[in-house]
């Protein structure tokens, strides 16, 4: 006890600053090197959106090549310069660079940093009832490491030899031998440096998220009263902390192979008839290390989106989430399984077929918790009083693409089927639906839903509806046909398919996909306009516009640093008391004690009431 008393006295000067809501910080401390989790969340959001535009633009350029291979691309010369060849075509090297950078940017910069960074930062302290993150300083570092990493990656787009081009999975030897292709030189070096900084950024973030959720919950906020968003962010952070260091290990070994002459991943390589000095390494080893991160990464991207969806669907169905504990259980199951299935990306590397079937079995088991989640979303929606806000539409859209992308995962997870489908457009279709689109939909749902809390204003709903329907129809038009191409054996990452007779017949389909992609991408600018316009000119929001139960809506409309004026509210119930029989209103916020809701208390609640009063 003596120990505690001392620290309390000692900490006076440090922690009184939370109560000084009025004292003004300089512009730089408030908006740039801010330690306020809300500002950091917005920094991640806006940076993530900028990256989404860049990543999307890259994909538009390679869709031009795929859909309209005979088009004259001379008009792109002012932007792309020498990457347009003298005969007015996209250069082959640049096509590979585009595919690589599109993947890298979307997976890491948009859907990891943009999604997890934004909502973990913004929502964790607000929804658990904390003044800020456990360490505001580390949190600030996390953003600025991400920023510098982004600067390096951005610079690599403009160097003469081009950015990394060996695919976002950077398999050696392509990535390890600098002479292998233009992008394997300086571009790859910058890629590795940027990713090393990115990993540090996500570790700093993840360490903070876990610590904050465990230690700084407000009174009454037990783990079984946490909103599912928080559970999702918590498990995402755990996955990140366990898997990102492994990628860092692999990246370091790769750096040594590239620049210091070791041969961890290289063996028996001949360039222009001359053997390289590197002997005795194993390129397959890199794949193991990479996919030990790479597969959990899928869930780092997806789980936050699923958590956001749980929250939004329950709120806008005006119904408690169906199977709250089953949702938590299935997320824990997914977290655990995500670490022991990585080799299903490597079925065709010559692995022992017996080992393959073990990984196949484990992979297929993931379908169980995923299906639990899908069913729970549907049963929550079932007979609810649905309110179709744009956020709700994107959440329902997530459920749709999660299911249609998920079922193809069962096909791809089969070692025998994967031999045929590996590296075809079937894979592209699968992960763009289940991971890309689903996470993107969750991202958008979250932005629409928490925009009033972030900026104190509402986004325009009609533009939101247009954005949703164009995106929703768009992603199906783009990715669904790819399944057929994949089944026909159409390989991914090919610059030109027209030279193969077998794939020539897909020319019209490719053009169709490209045009659908252009329209879908164009629709995102409706969102962009809506977002930035609404920040400044949107309709002012009320303090709880969705009539939601969670704690963030009990803060002032424009919460200051410290979130709550005065004491942090105490929590008395779980966050999903919507349409409770006997209650006056169709929602009971978490801060309402059972003693005030006598008319709706169940027998079980009566016991909780006794506990409440005895304290």
């Amino acid at each position: 006890m003596a120990h505690l008393e001392h620290t309390a006295v000692h900490g006076h000067d440090v922690h009184d600053e939370h109560h000084e809501e009025h004292h003004e910080l300089s512009f730089i401390r408030k908006y740039i090197f801010s330690e306020d989790h809300k500002v950091i969340g917005k920094q991640f959001l806006i940076t993530g959106l900028i990256w989404a535009v860049i990543g999307g633009t890259l994909s538009m350029i390679f869709r031009l090549q795929l859909g309209l291979p005979n088009a004259d691309l001379e008009w792109l010369r002012p932007i792309l310069g020498e990457w347009i060849t003298p005969d007015h075509k996209l250069s082959q090297e640049f096509y590979l660079a585009l595919v690589t950078m599109h993947g890298t940017i979307m997976v890491f910069f948009v859907l990891t940093a943009g999604l997890s960074g934004t909502f973990s930062n913004f929502l964790i302290p607000l929804q658990i009832g904390a003044r800020d993150m456990a360490s505001g300083f580390l949190n600030m570092l996390s953003y600025w490491f991400f920023f510098v990493s982004g600067v390096l990656m951005f610079i690599s787009l403009f160097i003469e030899t081009g950015p990394a081009s060996g695919g976002w999975v950077i398999y050696p030897p392509l990535s390890a031998v600098q002479e292998a292709m233009p992008g394997s030189g300086l571009g790859m070096t910058l890629w590795l440096c940027a990713m090393a900084l990115f990993i540090i950024s996500s570790l700093l973030g993840g360490i903070n998220y876990i610590t904050t959720i465990i230690n700084l919950r407000t009174k009454g906020m037990t783990f079984d009263r946490l909103p599912l968003t928080i559970w999702a962010f918590f498990l995402t952070a755990i996955i990140g902390v366990l898997s990102f260091p492994v990628l860092l290990s692999a990246a370091l070994l790769l750096i040594f192979d590239r620049s210091f002459g070791t041969s961890f991943f290289l063996s028996d390589i001949y360039i222009n008839g001359h053997a390289l000095d590197h002997v005795g390494g194993s390129p397959i080893l890199f794949q193991h290390l990479f996919w030990f991160l790479g597969h959990p990464e899928v869930y780092i991207v997806l789980l936050p989106a699923l958590g956001i969806t749980s929250e939004i669907i329950s709120t806008n169905s005006r119904k408690p989430i169906f199977g709250y504990k089953a949702m938590i259980g299935s997320m824990i199951g997914i977290t655990f399984l995500s670490f022991i299935v990585w080799a299903h990306h490597m079925f065709v590397t010559g692995m022992n077929p017996f080992l393959g079937s073990i990984f196949m079995l484990l992979t297929l088991i993931i379908a169980v918790p995923s299906a639990v989640k899908a069913f729970n979303y549907i049963t929550t929606l079932w007979q609810g009083n649905l309110i179709f806000t744009p956020g709700m539409l994107f959440s329902i859209g997530l459920v749709s693409v999660f299911i249609s992308g998920g079922v193809t995962g069962i096909i791809l997870g089969n070692a025998a089927l994967d031999v045929h489908l590996h590296d075809t457009y079937f894979v592209v279709a699968h992960f763009h639906l289940v991971m890309g689109s689903a996470s993107f939909f969750g991202f958008m749902a979250g932005v629409y839903h928490w925009f009033p809390k972030m900026f104190g204003r509402m986004m325009d709903e009609r533009l939101g509806y247009v954005h949703f329907w164009m995106t929703f129809v768009g992603v199906y038009l783009v990715f669904f046909p790819m399944h057929y191409q994949g089944i026909a054996g159409f390989p991914r990452r090919y610059y030109t398919y027209t030279v193969y007779n077998a794939f020539n017949s897909f020319h019209d389909l490719e053009a169709f996909i490209s045009i659908a992609a252009f329209i879908t991408f164009g629709a995102q600018f409706i969102f962009g306009f809506n977002f930035f316009y609404s920040i400044f000119k949107g309709r002012p929001a009320s303090s709880n516009p969705w009539r939601s139960n969670t704690l963030e809506w009990t803060t002032p409309l424009h919460p200051g640093h410290g979130n709550w004026v005065g004491e942090i509210p105490t929590v008395y119930r779980w966050p999903y008391d919507y349409s409770k029989p006997g209650a006056e209103d169709d929602f009971i916020p978490q801060t309402v004690p059972y003693s005030q809701t006598a008319s709706s208390n169940t027998e079980h609640d009566a016991e909780l009431l006794k506990n409440e009063q005895s304290h």
Binding site: I210, V246, L285
Partner: protein, 197 residues
């Protein structure tokens, strides 16, 4: 709603801040464990594939192991002395630990030299992946020791200003945890490399 309740709230929040800082360190340690887990697994994987050089661990590494183990004892002495408010002994023990840390790093560098003398190279034509792994594992661990020494110097500076005592233990506790971890990690690496080579 008395003043007393507010103070109890504050004590609770302070306690959770202290807990948070410890937890941040522990999770940081987990990330380091995962990095070394990746490398040691890669090592086992590559070893099973063949084309593997069976090396002798340099004798100097045995000495450096002993040095690091002793430093863990002196670290613990600093900790228990601080608990008993024996401030002079805290300072001496911390200085001793820091010096032992330096000696460890120097011994590691000399063992690299002895490896090179035996023609076991990190890179180049005649190097083997086994040797590269040996260098990587020990070198990255030594880098962490350097970070630990920096942490020790910060703690020592605080201690020299008499700011570490039984009622202000957090920095020392964190430093000791990190140092014992690095010690344990080295013992693991030494045994691992000694028996699986």
């Amino acid at each position: 709603m008395g003043v007393s309740e507010k103070i109890s709230d504050k004590i609770e929040r302070e306690a959770s801040i202290v807990l948070s800082k410890k937890m941040i360190l522990w999770i940081f340690i987990i990330t380091i464990v995962m990095m070394f887990a990746a490398w040691t697994s890669a090592y086992i994987f590559k070893r099973a594939e063949g084309n593997w050089l069976i090396f002798e661990m340099p004798t100097l590494m045995l000495y450096s192991t002993i040095v690091l183990l002793v430093s863990s004892f002196s670290m613990h002495m600093a900790y228990s002395s601080a608990k008993k408010d024996n401030l002079e002994r805290v300072k001496i023990a911390l200085i001793f630990t820091t010096i032992l840390g330096f000696i460890f790093v120097v011994l590691q560098l000399f063992s690299f030299k002895s490896l090179i003398d035996k023609e076991i190279y990190f890179t180049g034509k005649s190097s083997n992946v086994a040797a590269s792994f040996l260098y990587i594992l020990t070198f990255i661990h030594a880098l962490h020791i350097v970070a630990g020494i920096v942490f020790l110097l910060i703690t020592l500076a605080k201690s020299l200003g008499n700011n570490i005592h039984s009622k202000n233990m957090l920095t020392l506790e964190l430093c000791a945890t990190f140092w014992h971890f690095l010690d344990g990690l080295w013992v693991f690496l030494y045994v691992f490399l000694y028996y699986i080579r």
